[in-house]
Chain length 339, copies 2
DNA sequence: ACGCTAATCTATAGCGCTGTAAATGTCAAT
DNA sequence: ATTGACATTTACAGCGCTATAGATTAGCGT
């Protein structure tokens, strides 16, 4: 009751003084070091409890050189895919004894450069970074001192670790599934006009490969372009295609948001999903499950991405200094109501 | 080119040695201290550049006692509402010079206790915490040493700062809007059977107040219960009510997820939204905009919540030690296609 | 020149912890 | 008893930075 816990200012030395032992012994007790006698352990623990001692992590870090923290740098935490990745990475990191510092780059080039350049040190032990604006070359050039693992397909310098799914293969799988279901004319939604990202490019490639492999000629009018990344842009693109008389009985979409846009655009035009047109999304985020009708979606194994990224990063943090490793993580297709 | 930057191990002292000055002078240059001569500044900066010096934040923290970090403890980062709050808090924190450490409690009581109890020190300067399981009394009892601001309505001990919207009022506003639109029998979805949370309780209260104020008697069958928090549970509750013959022409929902569930359940039953039944969600998350039809939703001002929480927290971090302040933040109603 | 204030710069003691090396204690086997 | 071989405990030097107090230099009026 009369414990004068003055604002948590109890130091290891205070505990040591009270218990009449050395600082190191107290430290040993705190860390459950095995070679401490039971008597000693009890005596020290009593002192710790009496004073309400709580270790100062900053000091511990300075002494050990480890922070126990990992930065997760992503464009926007409130985008479904990133939110889900953040969750998995957070859980996986927790399991391995790390905490997550979230850094939002907000699609800003300067913010992304800052992540790589890391102007300060000792903040985190490593960084998991999904670039959106910065390109491969620039990442290679700004090569940071802090261990780094990249996510996504937008950039992958040979000298840096990187985790991704096989986008081309996944797109091919999606198209093949649609073909097996009897679809003949499959559209691809959507590449933002004049701003085709690397991942969209890979997906488009797989789309084309699958069609060619099935002996179906490419039709450029089936690659639908949008004016932006918003839902409305996707709806507009679908509507435009329909009123332009483009015929299609399936749409492979670049992400779930555009899949929702496709569904909406088709409904507006009076087409039934999936009776008239199948829609296949990408990322398999929660909205795919929640929207009506529930979206079928190409599903990257997010848990595996998180686990793999953490493993690569842990290697680096433990001193591994070899060349970049590029891990391919499995994907599947979650079939729901739109195919 | 020939800079031997050996793994960022350059210390302040190294720079000082190279420049032939004291550590403190280098420190002054790094911090843009005004009383440093131009010559000196240039000389030191040259040494900094040559060695590629980057300050070690951990050491700085130990010396200053400030970490520049704020913990954000929320149940799950991938729930729409929390993801959006995380974004706003992240942005606002960035503006004020803080970084965000995300701590997922995953609805685990022990994890929530750990947040309050903070077993360690010096990790963050303050904590923003949205409790989900832990109750008011327990928070008051575990009263931590680290500055704390609570979010949400599940708990609010008098001695702790707290930010929320006026839930009762918001529910009343929602019901009044539905009544103005001519709706007569308004249902409330949903309280999980046997697990009514404090915020649901407040919302239910506002729902009842508005009905009574309009001279409409309460009908217990209009308060729909679910078996869980998943979308399907909401759909089931709506379906059950319909097949039990409960008549209603509007549904006020506890959150956007249940609003989507309501829409789906109504569609299954062949009811048109909003022609036959209006649906009003809560939280105004991105899914409200994206789902078809787009959900009308009660909209807490998330940006204001973030800004207010950070302000209260900054006060505390700057030494304010008065009694708990309870800030009410504005809300509005985003009208879309379901009302 | 001299004294005085203000501007600059330096030396060094921490911040609270861990790691290392060394000291001490213990116990079974000579 | 004496000796190893361990188990247990201690002392203290850092980790890299900031802050304080003091030393030095500069500027200026008389």
């Amino acid at each position: 009751m009369a414990s004068g816990r003055s604002a948590g200012r109890v130091r290891l030395q205070d505990v040591a003084d009270l218990a009449g032992v050395s600082m190191k012994t107290v430290s040993n007790v705190v860390h459950d070091y095995e070679h401490v006698s039971a008597t000693m352990r009890d005596k020290v623990q009593a002192a710790i409890d009496e004073l309400g001692y709580r270790p100062n992590l900053t000091a511990r870090r300075l002494a050990t050189g480890k922070t126990g923290m990992i930065a997760l740098a992503i464009p926007e935490i409130d985008q479904f895919y990133f939110a889900e990745m953040a969750r998995h990475i957070g859980e996986e990191a927790g399991r391995r004894g790390y905490r997550i510092l979230v850094e939002q780059t907000l699609n800003d080039v300067e913010a992304e450069r800052a992540v790589i350049r890391d102007r300060e040190e000792g903040l985190v032990d490593g960084v998991i970074f999904q670039p959106a604006r910065i390109d491969t070359l620039e990442i290679a050039r700004l090569r940071p001192g802090t261990p780094l693992v990249l996510l996504g397909e937008a950039a992958r310098p040979v000298n840096t670790d990187h985790v991704m799914i096989d986008n081309t293969r996944a797109a091919r799988d999606g198209v093949e599934m649609l073909l097996r279901a009897g679809r003949k004319r499959i559209a691809f939604l959507a590449t933002v006009r004049g701003d085709i990202t690397e991942s969209t490019h890979l997906r488009l490639l797989g789309y084309q490969e699958a069609l060619l492999a099935a002996g179906i000629g490419l039709d450029a009018t089936l690659v639908l372009q949008t004016d932006g990344f918003a839902l409305e842009d996707g709806v507009d693109a679908i509507s435009a295609a329909i009123s332009a008389g483009v015929e299609f009985d399936a749409v492979l979409c670049r992400d779930d948001l555009f899949a929702m846009a496709a569904v909406r655009g088709l409904e507006i035009a009076g087409r039934r999903v999936p009776a008239d047109v199948s829609v296949l999304g990408w990322d398999d985020t929660a909205v795919a499950r929640y929207s009506t009708p529930a979206l079928s979606s190409i599903s990257p194994d997010k848990r595996a991405i998180a686990a793999t990224a953490l493993s690569l990063l842990e290697d680096r943090m433990n001193g591994y200094d070899g060349t970049g490793r590029h891990e391919i993580v499995p994907h599947s297709i979650a079939e729901r109501a739109t195919t």
